[in-house]
């Protein structure tokens, strides 16, 4: 029993790393994703094509393959990225690909009439975006954004493979030392259920508020 308490403590310490990676990568991905979506929709042709290719590549390749490319693949060119940063950069690149799609769909989902209405009101393009288009797109995008954070958090489970000390890292260590896979992976599952459940709950509250506000 004490072994399990011990490794539960270690997993909770790992949860800090997991959350750190998730939060950091989410912030970077959302900013880069918003910029990418604008480029994808309104940018010059070559930029549109590049962003399209980027998104398709990120969405088409297995997550673990992308992480391996960054961590192991780049060593072929003498680039040695420390594990933690490889994990973080991968989560950002991966997240950006998905975030671009969410923002693009959100912006495109606003009916043409809304754009015309802002023009009729004499709003500049920037004002129109800020006061009319984005507030509406935001409400529509919230469920997808909640799923996005959950997806990023689940992705962090892969980083143990390159030695980053997240929840899974400590879980595996605990299993090999105690020989109790069912209990320890069960507790790991429980930690993920609580974390993801909390994210979904917060997303739900935001959705409700946004729905009332609009």
């Amino acid at each position: 029993m004490s072994a399990i308490t011990l490794y539960t403590g270690a997993m909770l310490q790992g949860a800090v790393i997991t959350l750190e990676l998730t939060a950091g990568a989410t912030v970077v991905s959302l900013i880069a994703g918003a910029a990418g979506a604008v480029g994808r929709l309104y940018g010059p042709r070559t930029l549109k094509a590049f962003i399209f290719g980027y998104v398709e590549t990120i969405r088409g390749l297995p997550a673990i393959l992308q992480l391996f490319i960054l961590y192991f693949g780049l060593t072929q060119f003498g680039i040695d990225v420390p594990a933690y940063w490889a994990a973080f950069i991968w989560l950002c690149l991966y997240g950006t690909g998905y975030a671009i799609e969410i923002f693009r769909a959100g912006l495109q989902g606003i009916p043409e009439g809304q754009h015309e209405a802002t023009a009729a009101l004499g709003l500049t393009r920037f004002e129109a975006m800020r006061r009319v288009i984005i507030p509406q797109a935001w409400v529509a995008m919230l469920p997808a954004l909640t799923n996005f954070v959950v997806l990023e958090l689940k992705n962090t489970t892969l980083v143990y493979f390159i030695g980053v000390q997240d929840i899974m890292f400590h879980a595996r260590l605990g299993v090999s030392n105690s020989g109790q896979p069912l209990a320890i992976y069960g507790i790991a599952a429980l930690i993920y259920i609580v974390l993801n459940g909390t994210i979904s709950r917060v997303g739900g509250i935001l959705e409700k508020r946004a729905a009332i506000a609009s």
Binding site: G73, L158, P181, G186
Partner: protein, 223 residues
Amino acid sequence: MTVQLASILGLWGSYLPSFMRGLVITMEITGLGLAVAVVLGAILAGFKLSKFKALRVIATVYVDIIRSIPVLVLLFLAYYGLGQLGLTLSGIASATAALGAFYAALLCEIFRGGVQGVERGQREAADALGLGRVSGFVRVILPQAVLRILPPSTNQLSNIIKDSSLVVTIGVADLMARSYEASATTFEPMDMFVLAGLIYMALYLVIARAIGRWELNVQRRRG
């Protein structure tokens, strides 16, 4: 430059047979996982649409819990955890169980949405024609629901293909694992991962195209 390209192509050529054997395992895991997910997902969707509250609660709890567990954790629970209970599964069987359990939860929601999306009037029309509950569902509701179910299900299939690569962590020699091993033996990791990536992309494109064509067929027959 050309010398380099030739050496990469030569390297790819020598590893291609091994990668292709890995691809077969990737497809095997994907197919088995999908089969379990479709059957279990359909049962869960049936529970969700049932008039019995207990069944609805079971399905809802299952979907909510499973969806928030990372597939990797499910895989370790199946591979290492069940072994502790005396139920030792092979790597491929564990992957089938983990992918099946996880994607059943997602497919359940897609199936339920597809069936509920068919207008109420269609059900009433089936009743008016004297079709029984079962034949009304099979001959009127289901054919219409399929059109709503196919596109999002195709998306999930591509996710299953990608997630099948997680078996690299439990030593199953799938495409991902073979590229990982080759990356260590050749000291040219990037070349090996790029080849694996191209094969994954090709697999996805072939499957997406096949399903797209099937969808078109279904739509055309519907008129």
